[in-house]
Symmetry: C2
């Protein structure tokens, strides 16, 4: 589980007096997630999620919270941060930076259908359009700079073929940067477990704590690599639904297969990192890095052409 | 009904392309309300209310919309304005300023119980605390200046006793201003039909288009004059619930009965005005002004002492 910092009902009840959300009724730790401590919080006024930030750099937190607030005010179903009586999204609780956000209804889908993928594609495009007017800047914290850092750290744990694959892909990506693609703040981690569905519609996109500025295409690639893995038809449906809302240009189409590889590389690296260099207190089982190594090799062996 | 400006599905569908709220599914005129044209709007992404502003001064609209956005970001269940792709709350549709806001669940209560009045009192106090950090300023547009204007307009339609009552009360109020009471942006029109309840909790406070800066006590008085008319016990419960969240000071207690009279006067005047000077195209039946005349006389004859 991922409750690094525990919060008692008395502490929380007291802390909530800084907010206009009513009286605490219930508070329940959330076991999923590995980066932060999270609680479901129910008050007389509504349902919220409390997050205590355990390791994100304090200076990056306003970017994430303000981005969520920006998207929520555009009607995107994402957690809306709640401001306290000092009109701040960020507070402190038990020595940690802490924020309260709205809790969204719905459940994540393990086996998305074509219709789910269409929903996601359309929502992703709307999210990208809405994000364009967000003015704060944070470079994607898991972008190319981080890849090179992480590659150095995990290299000693890899056998020769994996090390060769990693080096070759880093070299390929270095030669395939796309500075002219449309970009903006992207979620960058929109796996199936970060989308909630209710009555076949997306009712929530959650967990923006890997967000940053990158190409919109990269955000799509992260989704396709997770949502449509075994179904080219679903991938096509996702892309078509996206394209109908924000048409992709020729540069984006040309960059598609290299970007799918970049998205596979990023998650192979982070899983290698978490697997070989687990953080103290990290009790969640690390995901198997091999999944994304295999995906990367498949994306290299058989480039997915643009198709929507 | 109050649809002054009609909007076709085709027009609305087109206009919604300026927003990140998905595709239009349904659009239905709202018959209640007399100030604006309103539609329920359902898209693939959610439920909204579209408002076309028919007569509010354009320069006041940002105050109302920004106040709602401010309260919503503090967790107050009020309509949250949706920003368009230019990041603006205010757009234009069919020649009118127009805004899209979230649609809240719940229904209004005609005969509130003591529990409803307690809910309202607590929420009102939380709303006032949250509103204190809102920095824009708009004087209550139905405050003392407007009373004097409206009194002049309606006087010719009144018989001698009513004219005398009006003059006497205006004089009394002029001698009983309370510049030192806590003040801030207040709803100023929180009648029963402007609060929605769901499962015995307030799920929405709506219609902020009479909001302005005034004393918090005035906002409470407007509520008590409508919600607790026949029940001193309910009034006491509302005040006690409010006081538990934002304790009222001695000045406020002393000003209570004069403020109840001010709130009665304001609505007597506006109902007289709408009754005798109806606006062209206003097809809603004007409320009977006599209700608030009687209430004002009752408040004069038997001042309600502070009690919570």
């Amino acid at each position: 589980m991922s409750v690094y910092t525990s919060v008692s009902e008395a502490q929380l009840g007291d802390w909530l007096k800084n907010y206009s959300v009513g009286r605490l009724l219930e508070c329940e730790p959330i076991k999923a997630g590995i980066e932060n401590t999270n609680y479901f919080v129910t008050t007389t006024q509504g349902r919220f999620v409390l997050t205590l930030f355990e390791r994100l750099p304090a200076e990056e937190l306003p970017f994430y919270l303000d981005l969520m607030a920006h998207l929520a005010r555009h009607g995107i179903p994402c957690p809306a941060p709640i401001a306290n009586l000092a009109n701040q999204f960020l507070g402190h609780l038990n020595g940690k930076p802490a924020a309260l956000v709205t809790r969204l209804a719905g459940t994540s889908i393990e086996k998305p259908t074509r219709a789910h993928c269409e929903e996601l594609g359309a929502l992703l495009a709307r999210m990208h359009l809405a994000a364009r007017s967000f003015s704060a800047y944070l470079e994607n914290p898991r972008g190319p700079k981080w890849w090179r850092f992480a590659a150095k750290e995990v290299a000693p744990f890899l056998d020769a073929p994996r090390r060769a694959l990693l080096e070759k892909e880093l070299a390929f990506q270095a030669e395939h940067r796309f500075p002219d693609l449309p970009r903006g703040p992207v979620h960058a981690d929109l796996f199936r477990d970060n989308a909630l569905f209710h009555e076949e519609r997306i009712s929530g996109v959650i967990d923006f704590y890997f967000a940053g500025v990158d190409t919109f295409l990269y955000d799509i690639a992260v989704c396709v690599n997770d949502w449509c893995l075994d179904s080219p038809a679903n991938a096509k449906a996702l892309l078509a639904a996206y394209h109908a809302v924000r048409p992709l240009n020729d540069l984006e189409r040309d960059a598609w297969s290299a970007t799918l590889r970049a998205a596979a590389l990023r998650f192979w690296l982070s899983r290698l990192y978490d697997f070989h260099l687990p953080r103290p207190g990290m009790l969640v089982h690390a995901h198997d890095p091999e999944h994304f190594r295999k995906l990367l090799e498949a994306r290299i062996a058989k480039p997915a052409p643009w198709s929507a």
